[in-house]
């Protein structure tokens, strides 16, 4: 089969885990995203970059069906998780969101729950059960590199943590559901540089056995954490689209498109 995109099983040498085919998005009558074809290989990190309003945050929300919660939002095209369209009739969006976790821009742990309660919140919310909750809490917090800082105060309220710790708690909370894919929408934009580095280390470590898609405004961050990068652009009220996608190294050092080159070298955006 011919590859739709530079990020493919061929160019990267890994199986495609998640892919999109001709994804379009509308808010009411407004066409905001046009014909996005991307492929996310297994256990890799893909960065979505581009200026504000280019549709990258909108796009990441189509990957776990969070997009459809926005009133008047419409979508065309296919999002395939291991070959199966997550928008197909009969697919439960709740199951999709359990398989494809999400971390948001602003750390948003549940303020009424303890640290432990936050890690287990996905189980409670989705009605799933775990045979060993203590082990799940420890493993999830370990994976999010937070365990050593909170192991003695698991029953403290989540609000007692610092911003960076809260964001790692949100990562732990998503990991507790053992998702296949983790989506991160500008996870460090509300954090200080020190916390950002910790989160980036966490992303590197979880991507050893998980596919990660991260939206970022920070081009250094994209280069530090990702193997692939897709550059989104929206021009003059036209819908956003992918200008260029490929290995991160190529996008930043050997871009094929002039607009990509201008953006990554800081000439606009």
């Amino acid at each position: 089969m011919e590859s739709l995109n530079p990020i493919s099983s061929n160019s990267f040498g890994a199986d495609v885990h998640l892919s999109t085919k001709d994804v379009h998005v509308w808010f009411g009558q407004r066409h905001v995203l046009e014909g996005v074809n991307l492929e996310f290989p297994v256990n890799s990190v893909t960065a979505l970059i581009g200026p504000s309003g280019c549709g990258k945050s909108t796009f990441i929300r189509t990957l776990n069906r969070m997009h459809e919660l926005i009133p008047n939002a419409k979508l065309a095209g296919e999002v395939l998780l291991k070959g199966q369209n997550i928008y197909a009739v009969g697919v439960d969006p709740i199951q999709v969101r359990i398989n494809i976790g999400m971390v948001f821009q602003k750390p948003n742990p549940f303020p009424t729950m303890t640290i432990r309660g936050n890690v287990l919140s996905g189980l409670r919310l989705s009605g799933k059960h775990s045979r060993n909750e203590d082990e799940l809490v420890e493993n999830s917090l370990q994976a999010a590199s937070l365990w050593n800082e909170v192991k003695d105060r698991l029953d403290s309220p989540a609000g007692s943590l610092s911003g960076g710790q809260q964001q790692r708690l949100c990562i732990a909370r998503a990991l507790a559901l053992a998702p296949d894919v983790l989506l991160m929408d500008e996870p460090c934009s509300a954090l200080d540089p020190g916390s950002t580095i910790r989160i980036e280390e966490t992303i590197r470590s979880i991507s050893k056995n998980m596919t990660v898609v991260i939206v970022t405004h920070n081009m250094q961050q994209a280069q530090r954490v990702s193997e692939q990068t897709a550059f989104f652009l929206a021009e003059d009220n036209n819908p956003g689209y992918v200008v260029e996608a490929g290995l991160t190294n190529d996008i930043f050092h050997n871009p094929k498109d002039k607009r990509t080159e201008d953006y990554v070298s800081g000439r606009f955006g």
Partner: protein, 320 residues
Amino acid sequence: MAKSQESFDLVDLKLKVSGRGDRLFFGFSSVAAYFAFSLVFLIVIFLGNASFSTFKTQGLAFFTGSTWDDAAGVYQIFPMLVGSVLCSILGLLISAPISIAIAYFIEFMAPPRLAKALTNIVDLLAALPSIVIAIWGAFVFAPVAAQWAQIINNKLGFIPGLQNTSGTFVGSPFIAGWILAIMMTPIITSVCREIIGSVDKDLVSAALALGGTRFSTMRRVVIPTARGGITGGILLGLGRGLGETIAVLYVLNLVFIVNFNILENYGGSVAPMIAAYYGESSEVGVSALLAAGVALFLITLFVNLIAQIFVGRYEKKMAS
């Protein structure tokens, strides 16, 4: 060098009045404010003065006894107090879940236009005059609710509180509770709507992204976060129910016997009792009715105070 803050002349802007229009408006506002304040003060004095003799002659039995005999000069309101609380709690049991559900639907599920329409419709319900609900309740709703009551009694009559020995199902606290629920729903909904609306939308997104359903998101995240404010809203509804007069008067069969069987065909409630007896009471009787009013006022005041503490504490928490 910039002047240090202490060296500025501080001007009290609140009291600075200039120009004739301003002075007139200021004068009018002050008079209105002082008038309202004095009016409340005078009403309290009047109530205290008028009811004092009753409290003095009846003693504690005024609150704990079950006889009201104007001719004999015995005035006791225990069944009415119990009834007020019972009917209002019944009303809350019905209206609180409905109100929370409406509020959640408006804030999180309805498309904007429907949300706006629903908000207006629920507020309109609050604008319906009590007498309209009273007449509708007595002639349209009561016969229907009496049938529901009969069905409940048939199936669950063995449970204490759901018994009925009279065989008649109209005039019961059950029906009064439903009518109160209709009157409480708008106020509880409007408080809950604002409180639920102030819950961080990011938390809702987070819950849904973790595989939450609409219901589990509401139960595990939205309601716990908004708990204090919702409690306040429910207590405001309770205050509304305790004070309701005419609508309960039309649907409840007032009898001076303590009744906890909600399907039985009689009950009590302080406010409608005052309205019912006012016209045919002696001078001493009227004083006793006013004393009953004072008792109800104190209960309502207490409930509202607690409600304000809850709502206030919630708003403070949200602001921080």
